[in-house]
Subunit: 346 residues, 2 copies
């Protein structure tokens, strides 16, 4: 991988700025937790696993900067740091998973000196990042075999190296198939309104010399009808206990189209994306973002001024459309209530 | 209607420039047939019925400018004008319908003086334009009753006043329902890559104070799942004898989603859009346009340089997804082979 999505270096957090890609490969340096929170909210970094890593690193930065005489004061302020991080974006559960993990680690070391707790939190954040890359490799190993030789694979949004600490979830599966010499091709939905497919997926696949063709989201159905797509692989922002999957807006439409054409539809995500506390996708909170993402593209207006807009950032694909959920611990299939629980419980 | 899509005035053809909308309501004046052909190719004017009107007016302009001593020379040159017009865009059959109509009229007056033939062609072109507006009103009268009171209607692309000589086909149905006081609301797919929905449909509905909400194409499925869409109405570029319908890319996906959610999916088009010479949609030629429409939006790049692109401008919706085809002569339903033939034969 010739770039790093997010990195802890010299007590700062460095992120590739995903709002500037592909025109510019620029890196931002964050020195405090507020900056990291703002980066998550402003989608400098995005993708459920990457958001989890960023939250962990943001909390480590926040912990480092807390001025406290007592453990009580430190933990109260740490709670505040975690709250700020939790309010950045509502849908990706990896954010809350990472926050909970950092809190747990801090609590487990409560008896130690503050300096030691700060160090432990920093180390934990770095571990979250390293583990995420390993997890993506494992998702690739588990999912790669599902991809047929010579397949053309549709993906939506960016569930790639840029959405994780590296390698990717959906694109991890694709990378693994590519590395296995399967001569695959990728069709990337551009993924309006934020254009993660056009800007990020196309960019990182071209960088890795994996054949990629860009389409507008509304072309996928037609290509399926023409027999030009063999399977679909997407990431996830939150998966309920029954397998219902929240992912980037448009994923549900891809899933319906895949079903209509008898094409397998795979979801690739780490176990940290599972939210078994929710019995179904109906309870997953769906972020609605501002109208400018729809009315403007890279600052250029494309619609009449003052037009009313809907901008749900995610949708929920009911489990019945999902052929399999590929995780680092294995591949789950219907009935997901049972198969996902088994994966989580080991 | 506070604007004219296309108009014959003082031996010129005036068109609203649809590439500049909605930022600017500008009108272009064309003085020769080559200019009109270029305007069709460059999508200054688009929409199947409007393309038909433009072709007729372009041929009238061409006929006026032909320098010929003999009828033979005149008709040979007229054939050339028609050929240039026919090579502008391949999918909308209204183009070929209008060309054939103009040829027929010229032939019918072959015994007259050249000046008289030129005049007849001019009058015929103006008649095509006037008739188209009447046809749209009739489509509205026939289709309006299909729209339920208080319905939220999804439309794709622009099958509005801007796609016709005025009033519109799909938007004609919507306008008729609105004029009947049904308190309808419209959801407009932005319609990538060319953004006809964001730029044109939103603009003309706002001008007419018909409530419109703009979404990215990939949001339609989610809104259907949430029960927020009651029916779909779209236009058509060519309808085969069996009811298979070519229309703007993305239409097929909307139709599949509508079927999956049990939502009626209506096609609204004049009889001139029927191509009964084709037994099915498989034989409709589908235009593939340049990659820049996908990689750039209003001149701004949104994808990595050199990325491979697919850009089919249309897709074909098999008749089984179409709840009804609304024409100026009545509403056709399955079996379309029979119902469409009856409409054409009167």
């Amino acid at each position: 991988m010739s770039f790093r999505t997010i990195e802890w270096r010299d007590n700062t957090v460095i992120m590739i700025d995903q709002t500037r890609l592909p025109a510019e490969e620029g890196y931002n340096v964050y020195t405090d937790f507020q900056g990291v929170a703002e980066a998550i909210r402003g989608m400098i970094i995005r993708g459920a696993p990457a958001i989890g890593v960023a939250a962990a690193m943001g909390i480590a930065l926040g912990a480092r900067d807390i001025i406290a005489d007592t453990h009580e004061s430190f933990f109260r302020q740490l709670e505040n740091v975690c709250d700020v991080m939790a309010r950045t974006r509502p849908t990706a559960v990896n954010l809350f998973w990472a926050i909970a993990r950092m809190k747990r680690v801090a609590e487990a070391h409560r008896s130690q000196k503050l300096e030691a707790i700060r160090t432990v939190l920093k180390e934990e954040a770095i571990r979250v990042e390293e583990e995420d890359r390993e997890i993506c490799r494992a998702i690739g190993r588990n999912g790669g075999p599902l991809i047929p030789e010579g397949a053309t694979i549709l993906t939506h949004c960016n569930a790639g190296a840029l959405a994780t600490a590296g390698y990717g979830t959906a694109l991890g599966v694709i990378r693994a198939a590519h590395e296995a010499g399967k001569k695959i091709k990728v069709i990337a939905d551009e993924t309006r309104p934020w254009l993660q497919g056009a800007r990020l997926t196309a960019w990182e696949l071209m960088k890795d010399e994996i054949p990629v063709t860009l389409i507008s989201d509304n072309m996928a159905g037609w290509l399926m009808q023409k027999g030009e797509i063999d399977c679909c692989v997407v990431g996830a922002d939150r998966i309920a206990a029954n397998g219902d999957t929240a992912n980037k807006i448009g994923t549900y439409s891809v899933a319906v189209l895949a079903k209509e054409h008898g094409i397998p539809f795979y979801v690739a995500a780490p176990v940290s994306t599972l939210d078994l506390s929710l019995d179904s996708g109906a309870r997953i909170p769906i972020e609605e973002r501002g109208s400018a993402e729809v009315t403007h593209i890279q600052g250029v207006g494309i619609a009449p001024e003052g037009v009313k807009v809907r901008n749900p950032a995610f949708d929920v694909t009911p489990a019945r459309y999902v052929s399999a959920i590929i995780t680092e611990r294995g591949v789950a299939r219907q009935d997901y209530c049972e198969s996902l629980r088994k994966l989580v419980q080991g």
